[in-house]
């Protein structure tokens, strides 16, 4: 059998950084091939090269459907049957669902004019094939995120792709939707279409894949049959480390309550929430995307106001009018969206770190002291062991893990009582995640209260004293990891839909 795609000796350098080194990669027709690796290992770059979005360094050989290329243009790759579901930048939010799905029917072709009726027909057919329904005239920006991902998936199925790349397609889907997608993948392979699947949910990877190619630091580690792999083995190949997690014990010392929330509600976001956190305790909130976790956190952080109920800090009722009030009361919030909310990506590392504590650097009644600023920056970079070149570099030059450390550091500098971590491992390598959780445990031991929000059961199970399960805007159940099974918690969380 001839491979659908065969890459030899693919390397890629950005500026001075080697993103890929001599990668060989091949996919057979009708197989589900997984591309596994940590963030920044070069998965996305490899996909971009095959899709013609960026060019490989000289010396690479690409052969698609038995034709050889040195470089490809996106349009060329499309014509040869390469379809990609991009993780980001995929959709046109101001355009209609139908047009988003069918856009390639007039971009790739030589059509000079657009028939809107045709576009709707094309879109409608694909939706039926996938078993989803949309208001085809709605603008994509009006859809919830999970639905948008489905639009992106639909688009790839419009043209007769012979190989479909799916870059993190399930990251915001519920379990039912994920199952649906996996069924689509199976349908495709039955039609002899090859699927290359990229996901950080290793369980899915092992469930669906025939073969797995593992990349690490831009190099190929190997190609394996999925049937031979286990979760632990795959993680080890990806990180080069063996990690054995252990459960954190229940918080036994009865310290003072730092935060108490009584029956707070906000229409359309969360309802009747009651819980408390005591000093030095790590409480997890687990729930899928759309469960109301972030909305709850934003109210605790003063960004929105609960419509009903009270929030108490140290036993005193508080009424935040803005997040400045919340910060003054000792609450810190590390956003799940580091790229657009957590850090100011274009600005320097030092400025990002100093942003929350400017008032601690003032001299002469209002002027910033560069010396004091430097002291604070140096202190926290040292404290959290952040690896960086120069503090005046843009923060976007750091890896996800080190960026997250800066995001945590800038809040620790405010000397908070409660630290809310919202999905702190998004975009952070498996290897670096452990470093983040070690910081979390150290902080808790020093008496900081932590609210850890996540959609990964393993994260909260192994790192929290107590876990609250949130779904549909309400807290469903409390778990104590020390007294319950991992699978019990997993069933409770992933078994329900929003």
């Amino acid at each position: 059998m001839i491979p659908v795609i065969q890459c030899k000796n693919v390397s890629k350098t950005f500026g001075g950084v080697r993103a890929l080194t001599n990668i060989d990669f091949e996919v057979m027709p009708g197989e589900v091939h997984c591309l596994a690796g940590e963030n920044g290992c070069g998965k996305s770059t490899l996909i971009k090269i095959i899709a013609g979005v960026c060019a490989a360094d000289p010396g690479a050989k690409l052969s698609l459907m038995d034709q050889e290329f040195e470089t490809l243009s996106p349009a060329q790759a499309r014509r040869l049957g390469v379809g990609v579901i991009w993780q980001d930048h995929a959709l046109f939010p101001e355009m209609s669902v139908a047009e988003n799905i069918a856009i390639e029917s007039f971009v790739g072709s030589n059509a000079k004019f657009v028939r809107h009726r045709n576009i709707e027909d094309v879109a409608q057919k694909v939706c039926e094939r996938l078993g989803v329904s949309f208001d085809l005239n709605a603008k994509v920006k009006t859809l919830p995120i999970a639905r948008r991902q489905l639009v992106a998936i639909c688009r790839t199925l419009v043209s007769d792709a012979r190989i479909v790349f799916m870059d993190e397609p399930t990251s915001s889907l519920t379990r039912t939707e994920t199952q649906h997608l996996l069924n689509v993948v199976r349908t495709l392979t039955a039609e002899n279409v090859a699927v290359v699947f990229v996901s950080h949910r290793l369980v899915e990877v092992l469930e669906i894949a025939d073969r797995v190619t593992v990349l690490r630091d831009g190099q190929k580690v190997g190609v394996y049959d999925a049937s031979e792999m286990s979760l632990a083995k795959l993680t080890e190949k990806m990180t080069g480390l063996t990690i054995t997690p252990a459960v954190v014990g229940q918080n036994t010392n009865d310290n003072d309550t730092v935060l108490e929330v009584k029956n707070i509600s906000r229409a359309g976001e969360y309802k009747d929430i009651c819980f408390s956190i005591s000093r030095g305790e790590v409480v997890g909130i687990i729930g899928l995307l759309g469960a109301g976790r972030t909305e709850l956190a934003l109210s605790l952080f003063g960004m929105t106001r609960p419509e009903l109920g009270q929030i108490y800090i140290d036993g005193k009722v508080v009424n935040f009018r803005s997040n400045q009030d919340a910060i003054a009361a000792g609450i810190a919030y590390v956003s799940e969206d580091r790229l657009s909310l957590g850090l100011v990506q274009a600005q320097s590392i030092e400025n990002n770190l100093a942003l929350t504590v400017l008032d601690k650097t003032l001299v002469f009644g209002g002027l910033l002291s560069l010396k004091k600023k430097k002291e604070i920056v140096d202190h926290w970079i040292d404290e959290l062991d952040v690896k960086l070149g120069n503090v005046s570099d843009a923060i976007s030059t750091l890896s996800g893990g080190n960026q997250q450390k800066i995001a945590i550091a800038k809040w620790l500098a405010t000397n908070p009582k409660l630290l809310i971590l919202d999905a702190p491992t998004v975009g952070v390598d498996i290897g670096a995640r452990e470093g983040i959780f070690k910081i979390v445990r150290d902080l808790a031991n020093k008496g900081l209260s932590i609210l850890l929000i996540s959609d990964e059961v393993s994260e909260v199970y192994f790192n929290c004293n107590r876990v609250l399960h949130m779904s549909g805007g309400t807290l469903r159940r409390e778990f104590i990891p020390a007294c319950c099974d991992f699978s019990e918690m997993e069933d409770a969380v992933y078994g329900t839909d929003i």
Partner: protein
């Protein structure tokens, strides 16, 4: 992958200042060789008299640009502030008005300028409408009010000392130039050493992330546009004293030149980056080009065209330098690469 994300911010700006300085020296040398009249006290002082009005307006434009916006109302806000001062002088004595009337008039002018900026700031902060659009409406409003109240006429008839301020000098430096230097220094301090300035840079890059970090971004926006309006008022006062008259429309052509000067001084059109010093240098270069060409016999319009070409040349050079340095870096780090 993109130039903006991976540059080292500090070195970028130091390179920028050096580049502008070298260019300034080259231009000065070229003009001195081309004409003996260039490096003379008369020409230098006439440059120092012409620069401040444009310079002050550029400072008023700079802060909004750093915040990722623009303030298109600066010239007419300056005119309106000038009108406020002119009426105060006329109402309280005309040519016989005293210094205290002038001071009162200046206070009124500053209030008018600040108010104009304040309104822009409030609308931008609370509606999140695009600053170009908001300040454009403010420009139309200011022009309208100004033309309505002045009926499009020149307002003159001020006390003698007003002109003496505008055309006088201390230690050989024209007073307007001194005002401009003081304002530039004040701007530098505000931008580099206050929470307001720090917040402006940060929100210029990403306003949501800055708000999430506990910065009062709405207040910052209001203050920064108010500061911009205040600087317009200073420009309006200086222009009044220099021309010894006020007319709505004075300095209208400066509007887009101030934007040009900011970009030339390496202010990032997307906001978040830019400093007073390189912008100051850019202004001096523009003035030298215009005065030098004037001495060689060309008129202001040719200078305007050259300013545009100069801006294009600089951005293309920046682009070429970025491509070259990316390649250079690659070669340096991979010496064994064939």
């Amino acid at each position: 992958m993109t130039s903006t994300n991976h540059r080292n911010i500090k070195y970028y700006f130091e390179g920028e200042v050096a580049g502008l300085l070298i260019f300034l020296i080259a231009v000065v040398v070229a003009f001195s060789l081309a004409s003996p009249n260039f490096l003379t006290a008369t020409n230098l002082s006439s440059m120092a008299i012409q620069l401040p009005a444009l310079g002050l307006l550029t400072l008023a434009m700079l802060i909004p640009i750093l915040s990722g916006g623009l303030n298109l109302s600066i010239t007419y806000t300056a005119n309106m502030s000038g009108l406020a001062l002119a009426w105060t002088l006329q109402a309280l004595g005309g040519p016989e008005a005293g210094v205290e009337v002038f001071v009162l008039g200046c206070a009124l002018a500053l209030t008018v300028g600040a108010l104009s900026g304040f309104v822009i700031g409030v609308v931008v902060a609370y509606t999140k409408a695009h600053p170009i659009l908001v300040s454009l409406s403010m420009m139309i409003l200011m022009r309208g009010i100004g033309e309505f109240l002045s009926r499009g006429k020149d307002i003159t008839g001020f006390p003698k000392f007003v002109q003496e301020i505008g055309q006088g000098a201390i230690w050989g430096i024209p007073i307007p130039m001194l005002v401009f230097i003081v304002c530039a220094v004040a701007w530098h301090i505000i931008l580099s050493r206050t929470r307001q300035g720090f917040g402006t840079y940060m929100l210029g890059s990403n306003i949501m992330a800055t708000a999430y970090s506990g910065v009062a971004t709405k207040r910052n926006l209001i203050v920064l546009y108010t500061l911009s309006g205040l600087m317009c008022a200073v420009a309006g006062i200086v222009m009044l004293s220099q021309f010894n008259s006020v007319r709505v429309g004075h300095g209208e052509s400066f509007l887009l030149i101030t934007v040009l000067a900011c970009f030339l001084g390496a202010a990032d059109p997307f906001g978040g980056f830019g400093r007073v010093l390189p912008v100051f240098l850019a202004l001096v270069i523009l003035q030298v080009l215009s005065s030098g060409l004037n001495i060689l016999g060309a008129n202001q319009h040719l200078s305007t065209a050259l300013w545009g070409i100069f801006l294009l040349a600089v951005v293309i050079l920046r682009w070429a330098w970025w491509r070259y340095s990316a390649k250079l870096k690659w070669k340096l780090e991979e010496p064994n690469n064939e």
